[in-house]
């Protein structure tokens, strides 16, 4: 009951950073509950003994390794339901991302368990876990507890910090799982396709980010010119909306299913500031937003908000910065 089971996502032989954050969080919480933090990994041959055991370094004592298709949620639901059924974990914990949401929700349905998602903090209280979940566009935080024997907690991206504890290798246990029929009805054809050029936004000091407000793919020329005017170590970033539309490369995307960045300056043009975008850039040192809608959520977390038409403002700003640099 006091043990916590963490799902660790992996890709091409590396464990996801947000999953490692969840392992650290799980280990800290389990020790408060008087239990242990265990990890479950699901996939193929790249789940080597060494890779699995390495999560001990983030505080896990045991790793369940399940050989099943990876990148899809339902096989993981089968695997976690089996392990929890056998060993009686009290909580299942997920780091931020996409798959964890699907797995956690499916598992809640399977086990009749309560689920809290987008969780930013968890605490132990009277031997149970209480999850904090921001709601209403992050204007309030609700605290959620569980009535069910198993509680399912899905973290928000970057909510849990990965901290190496220097713990020794975790014990690796192979588990045979029989997949349910519906978990065998989906097949991964291609995983992790990188659409567009391989640009680097993680190393930049200045990021000029563009969103749907740019209006068309060519709109990115405006933000590219502005980034160029800043010179030095600057780059252009994007939202999922424009990446999905094919306007800009996936490698430049910030957010829940993109990159996490923390530049000295993040300047957004035509970006609404959806939570799934915010989670990838909110640690930036200075946040500037240009948006024509005074009610855009991005102004809630901007240091400087400019209400106006980017088509008028950005070109002039580019000229002014060039002039300033030249002087």
């Amino acid at each position: 009951m006091a043990d916590i089971l963490v799902y660790a996502l992996h890709y091409e032989g590396a464990i996801n950073k947000n999953s490692l954050g969840a392992v650290s969080e799980g280990a800290a919480l389990a020790s408060e509950l008087g239990g242990e933090c265990h990890v479950i990994v699901v996939g193929g041959d790249d789940l080597t003994d060494d890779l699995c055991a390495s999560v001990g370094n983030w505080g896990a004592t045991k790793v369940y390794r399940v050989n099943a298709p990876e990148g899809l949620a339902q096989p993981v639901v089968d695997a976690m339901a089996k392990v929890i059924g056998d060993d009686g974990h009290g909580y299942a914990l997920f780091g931020g991302g996409l798959l964890g949401f699907e797995v956690g929700a499916g598992l809640a349905a399977r086990l009749g368990a309560g689920v809290a998602m987008e969780v930013t903090a968890v605490r132990a209280q009277d031997g149970k876990l209480v999850a904090e979940r921001p709601i209403l566009g992050d204007s309030a935080i609700s605290e959620i507890a569980f009535r069910s024997p198993v509680g399912i907690i899905i973290g928000r991206l970057n909510a849990f910090e990965a901290k190496e504890t220097g713990g020794g290798p975790a014990a690796v246990q192979d588990v045979e799982v029989e997949l349910s029929p519906h978990a065998q009805q989906a097949t991964m054809i291609q995983r992790g396709e990188q659409r567009g050029a391989d640009v680097d936004i993680e190393g930049a000091d200045v990021l000029v980010a563009g969103g749907r407000g740019l209006g068309k793919p060519e709109g990115f020329e405006l933000v590219e010119e502005l980034a160029k005017a800043f010179g030095g170590n600057s780059a252009v970033a994007a939202t999922r909306a424009v990446v999905d539309a094919g306007w800009y490369p996936y490698a430049a995307q910030i957010g829940q299913t993109g990159k996490t960045v923390a530049p000295k300056l993040y300047l957004a043009a035509g970006i609404s500031g959806a939570i799934q975008h915010k989670v990838g850039m909110q640690s930036s040192e200075n946040i500037v937003a240009i948006n024509k809608d005074a009610n855009a959520p991005i102004f809630e977390f901007s240091d400087l908000g400019v209400v106006g038409d980017l088509n008028k403002i950005v070109p002039k700003l580019t000229e002014a910065i060039k002039a300033k640099k030249g002087s």
Binding site: L9, L72, Q74, L98, F101, E102, A105, G106, A108, A109, R110, G112, G114, V115, M117, E118, I135, L136, G137, A140, I141, S142, E143, I144, F146, R147, S148, Q185, A186, T187, M188, I189, Q190, R191, G192, E193, R195, V206, R240, D244, A245, Y250, T257, K264, N286, V288, A294, F299, S302, L304, G305, V306, V307, G308, I313, K316, L317, A320, I321, K324
Partner: protein
Amino acid sequence: MKICVLVKEVPDAAVQKRIDSSTGRMDRSGEKNLNPYDTHAIEAAMQIREGGTVEVDEIVAVTMGPESAVRALHKAVSLGADRSVHLTDAALAGSDVAATGYALAQTLKRESPDLVLLGQQSDDGECYTIGAVVAEHLQMPSLTQVIKMDVEPDKLRCERQAEYGYDTVEVRLPAVISVGDAINEPRYPSLKAIMGAKKKQLDTVAAADADIDTSKVGGEYSAAHWLAAKAPPAKAAGTIIEDEDTGETVEKIVAWLDERKLI
């Protein structure tokens, strides 16, 4: 092929959202509208019908919600659904995600759909997970955030962005798919369709009609329950500039950046 589209009524984007401090639930009074993300799911159903690869017999909009949710169903019908189903019952009020997904799945079982479509997220709930809950109860494969969907008689080829890039997944029917907003550009309803929407069949279903075990739904029984609400840590408000004279605006931005040595 029969397609069910799950739609939800949400507070209008222009309305300030708030929490009712006595219950901790969202205050759902005020202007409501069809969740904008769900219009992409209806459009996806329409494009399958018009695509011609498969014969679509029926598109049915399904919602769970209070009486007012009928308007969201009318809107869904005006956008192309043939008829609608309204699950409404006092016992369902305050259901959490897992309970809502269970109740919707029970309602969908009455319809035996070949494909269930959802939006990427509800404007107010923002959990993007109802699809996964529904799929588990229906024992169907599922995928969320799908932005491209090619339909064949017995399967779908879906594309979506996940943590490491774009995935292509083949999903056998029947299936539950939530579509991302990049999948299509929803059409506007014609005036005729808006006028006609109220005349289309709308079935009102109570919990008992759908064989919903009321000990598994509603605020009192939901397995995740609300303890308290609190304010987020206070953050200094940023400076706001309203652009009236762009030359001046730009000067102010440059000064602000320069002060922080960002240029």
